[in-house]
């Protein structure tokens, strides 16, 4: 079917979806972008701080290889290395491309791209457009896609919801079932490949830094249709967010990248105005504990430290779960130029001006490292073969995933400013493979019997009819709130098996109560109620994946912190010792005396733990429950070793 116009359905109008649509149209394909709302409004716009690329604009000796290492180490070695390496090597090209598209990246005195520092690295590697980099990148890609729509090669279906994949008798994806959110019509789109670029699942937690549309429903539906879901338990908690009723708004890592300092009063009962507290009575806990990376330790580390300060040391500001993030030592002009947007957001939502008074912040659910399991085609140089049809393909043939909806790039913890990169990278990188996959098909979607599509359509029609007939006593929004509370209370920063088991039971109860939900609105015009109930159902199943994965993984890795299984790294441990240890082991002469006391034991524990747990968690839908198995991680390029940031 080489001669036919290649048609792809892309679900999601964020960075990954738009990047793919653009690339696909450029290669003479026809892309249909399905979006829950108008393009330009996707959650990618919320990304603030920037996008990483080792261009080494500051002559610090930065290279893509160092970017690769930082990313792998930041993710606690759980990411597949060839993918991450390829992404880091593509990053400079991606930044240049976005620059050519007109993104207003901040510039140096000579007019070149400017870079700032972000967490988990010692290099100035993050390109940024003020404090709304995500928004600027989305707009640039959106403009290109709009141009293709104008030219007729791209189509958009805004205000449409993806319900599920159309699978033929062989289990190959042949299209998508689409729900028009205005007219309430349910119909199918034929396509030789369907790509889910549907973002993360923050809404499972009720309140997070995520947007309202980030329910994870599309990915969960794919999981329930047989796709594997990987590393669900790895949920990034962003250390700095603004507490709120409806949402925990992000305070970008760039606030710390530009010099923001995190502190609490040394005395927990000190209720003075923060600016009146003298320097020696402030506890800059991140700077004291991590003299090398200071306030820019990776997010998992910072979140745990803040949690520890508030709940274990009772040093939260005025006894509340909050710490100060202080920028008041910087000039107003500097702050306006580099961080204006996010500081205004803080002012708008709290009434206080961060230029005058330290911000009060607390960690919040931010990003899912996990997502749909996807494949990749490595080449012989430790990188990716961009022509491989396997790239980004889920375990369902013809169904792809990209962006936050996949799982491959961030391991157990994502570094700041790598998400925008991974989204654009996956979208651009996979285009060739998707086209090659289409070429390889013997039959196109057009050759498939119409009953396959009719069946899929009637399945979802009756599903929605059933939902509309739900007339119990439970309010779905209240139930969602309760689900979020369960997740926030038990499956957050610090995890223990008792709470996780409790959460599992409570989720089961929610699932039982779900059957008694009432569909609040049964009209057939712009009615979000049935869709929400369907999404809630998906969120319940997603919360099970997260919770069960967390319960089963008895270790401490990246964002998944179980104190009971902390290997207690000796304070004076140096990660290089571990490499030495491995070498000695290879030659069969490990000598106890060569390492400081306790270090060898620790390294043995570490090695043993890695053998057991340095694995991808894979959840599959069986009998209404996630069935968990583990898969090897590709660590062919860098030897996994203990992380250390001080």
């Amino acid at each position: 079917m080489t001669n036919r116009k290649k048609k792809v359905v892309i679900v999601g109008g964020g960075l990954a979806g738009l990047a793919l649509a653009m690339k696909f149209c450029e290669r003479n394909g026809e892309a249909t972008v399905v979006s829950y709302q108008s393009l330009k409004r996707s959650h990618s716009v919320c990304a603030q701080g920037g996008i990483n690329a080792a261009i080494d604009a500051k002559n610090e000796g930065d290279t893509p290889e160092k970017h690769f290492y930082d990313t792998i180490k930041g993710g606690d070695f759980l990411a597949h290395q060839p993918l991450v390496r390829d992404m880091c090597h593509q990053a400079p090209t991606i930044i240049n491309l976005m620059d050519r598209m007109g993104v207003a990246f901040n510039r140096t005195g000579e007019g070149h791209l400017d870079f700032r520092r972000f967490g988990g690295t010692l290099f100035n590697r993050t390109a940024f457009a003020g404090a709304t980099t995500g928004q600027q990148l989305v707009y640039a890609l959106d403009e290109q896609v709009r141009r293709h729509v104008h030219d007729g090669s791209a189509k958009t279906l805004e205000w449409h919801e993806y319900l599920g994949a159309v699978l033929d008798a062989e289990g190959i994806c042949r299209g998508a079932v689409i729900h028009d959110l205005r007219t309430d019509e349910i119909y199918t789109l034929k396509a030789d490949a369907v790509v889910l670029a549907t973002g993360g699942p923050g809404q499972v937690y009720g309140r997070s830094t995520n947007s309202v549309v980030n329910t994870g429903a599309a990915a969960t539906t794919a999981y329930m249709q047989g796709a594997k879901f990987a590393n669900g338990e790895f949920i990034q908690i962003h250390p700095t967010a603004i507490p709120g009723q409806d949402k925990l708004r992000l305070m970008s890592e760039s606030a710390r990248g530009e010099g923001g300092r995190v502190w609490v009063p040394r005395d927990g009962n000190d209720n003075r105005n923060p600016r009146e507290i003298p320097e020696n009575e402030r506890y800059y806990f991140l700077e004291e504990k991590y003299p090398l990376f200071k306030n820019l330790v990776p997010r998992d580390v910072a979140s745990r430290e803040i949690y520890d300060i508030v709940y274990n040391q009772n040093l939260g500001v005025s006894g509340d779960p909050m710490v100060y993030l202080d920028l008041t030592h910087k000039s107003r002009e500097f702050l306006d130029n580099r961080l204006g947007g996010i500081l205004d957001i803080y002012t708008k939502f709290t009434g206080a001006d961060p230029r005058e008074t330290p911000m009060k912040i607390f960690p919040a659910v931010h990003y899912s490292m996990g997502g749909l399991w996807t494949d990749y085609g490595p080449d012989s140089n430790g990188m990716i073969d961009h022509a491989s049809p396997k790239n980004q393909m889920t375990s369902i043939r013809g169904l792809y995933a990209a962006g936050e909806a996949d799982y491959q790039y961030h391991g157990a913890n994502r570094l700041g400013a790598n998400s925008l990169l991974s989204c654009i990278y996956t979208g651009l990188m996979m285009a060739r493979g998707v086209m090659n996959y289409m070429d390889s098909l013997e039959k196109s979607a057009d050759d498939i019997s119409s009953t396959v599509f009719d069946d899929a359509r009637s399945h979802w029609k009756s599903r929605f009819n059933d939902i509309k007939n739900m007339n119990g006593s439970e309010n779905p929004h209240k139930l969602h709130h309760e689900l979020g509370d369960i997740m926030l209370a038990n499956v957050l920063i610090v995890r223990d098996n008792k709470s996780l088991e409790k959460a599992s039971h409570e989720i089961e109860e929610i699932e039982t109560r779900f059957k008694n939900v009432k569909c609040l609105d049964t009209t057939d015009w712009v009615n979000p109620s049935p869709s929400f109930i369907n999404q809630l159902y998906c969120m319940i199943h997603l919360s099970k994946i997260i919770t069960k994965g967390a319960l089963m993984r008895d270790e401490f890795r990246g964002s998944h912190y179980k104190p009971d299984f902390d290997l207690s790294q000796p304070k004076d441990f140096d990660p290089h010792e571990y490499i030495e240890y491995l070498e000695q082991k290879q030659y069969g002469d490990v000598t106890e005396g060569k390492f400081p006391p306790g270090h060898l034991d620790y390294m043995k524990r570490f090695e043993e733990n890695n053998e057991k747990w340095l694995k991808t968690t894979v959840a599959q839908y069986k009998n209404n429950q996630p069935q968990i198995t583990y898969e090897e991680v590709n660590t062919s390029l860098v030897t996994p070793r203990p992380r250390k940031y001080d």
């Binding site: 108008s38 919320c46 598209m101 207003a104 709009r146 309010n475 209240k478 712009v526």
Partner: protein
């Protein structure tokens, strides 16, 4: 225990073209509450003040941090985003209405497709040769970048158009948001190559000359985009274009 509540009056409409009606809800007071959290509370208890259970109010929203542009509506008669409208700062009872310059879809939801269509009309993009690796973009002074950045923060929310006395549902006025895009792209070294096309697109009915300089747009813009400066700048560009068309071509 009697909870403290806030009264919210909402103008509702079931379908495009169907008559609108008002309903009043009592929403419990909470710290840091905004209009979105109130609407979420109404979803959880969709009961009016006189105890009638009704369909929950529908509205658009997404990011809830004033960067996506979805949740624009009239709050106490003024157009703004619902997410940044903190209940504590609003006059009570609070009155919510859908935007009046766009067709209502349902309740507080309107169809802003016209704004997105306008982006196509003025070619609000840079015509790159392709997304393959062809090196760095043009060098640009940071002050030019800063100028563009402020303009490029436009989130197509529609505030400027709702508040514009020249913009109505039945005329074709492009409005401040679109003119701002023309300036944004004409300011870019590569975007400038299509400058004349963009200017031609706004030199007609509904174009730049239909601006009446009421300058409400710039007052209501949540992103503080210098819209009136953009309009004047674009006016200058079209003036030169006119002179060129008349005298040189």
């Amino acid at each position: 225990m009697t909870e403290k509540t806030t009264t919210i009056k909402i103008k509702r409409q079931d379908k495009p073209g169907s008559p609108s009606y008002w309903q009043t809800f009592e929403v419990p007071d909470k710290p840091f509450a905004n209009i979105i959290s109130c609407l979420m509370d109404i979803q959880k208890t969709p009961t009016t003040e006189d105890g009638k259970t009704v369909n929950p109010v529908t509205w658009d929203c997404n990011c809830l941090e004033e960067v996506c542009g979805s949740c624009t509506m009239l709050i106490n008669g003024q157009v703004r985003q619902a997410c940044t409208a903190l209940v504590d700062n609003l006059k009570k009872p609070i009155v919510l209405e859908p935007m009046s310059k766009f067709p209502v879809l349902r309740d507080l939801q309107v169809d802003r497709e016209r704004m997105f269509d306008n982006l196509k009309k003025v070619k609000a993009w840079i015509e790159i040769d392709g997304s393959h690796d062809i090196g760095a973009g043009p060098i640009m002074p940071d002050q030019d970048r800063a100028k563009r950045y402020v303009m490029s923060e436009c989130m197509t929310c529609g505030c400027c158009l709702e508040a514009c006395p020249q913009f109505t549902q039945d005329n074709s006025f492009l409005g401040a948001a679109t003119f701002n895009q023309v300036r944004l792209f004409n300011l870019h070294p590569s975007g400038e190559m299509k400058k004349e096309d963009r200017l031609d697109a706004i030199m007609g009915e509904g174009g730049i000359t239909d601006c009446g300089n009421a300058q409400v747009c710039v007052e209501v813009c949540p992103k503080n985009i210098p819209l009136t400066e953009s309009i004047a700048d674009i006016s200058r560009q079209t003036t030169w274009q006119m002179i060129k068309n008349l005298l040189i071509k």
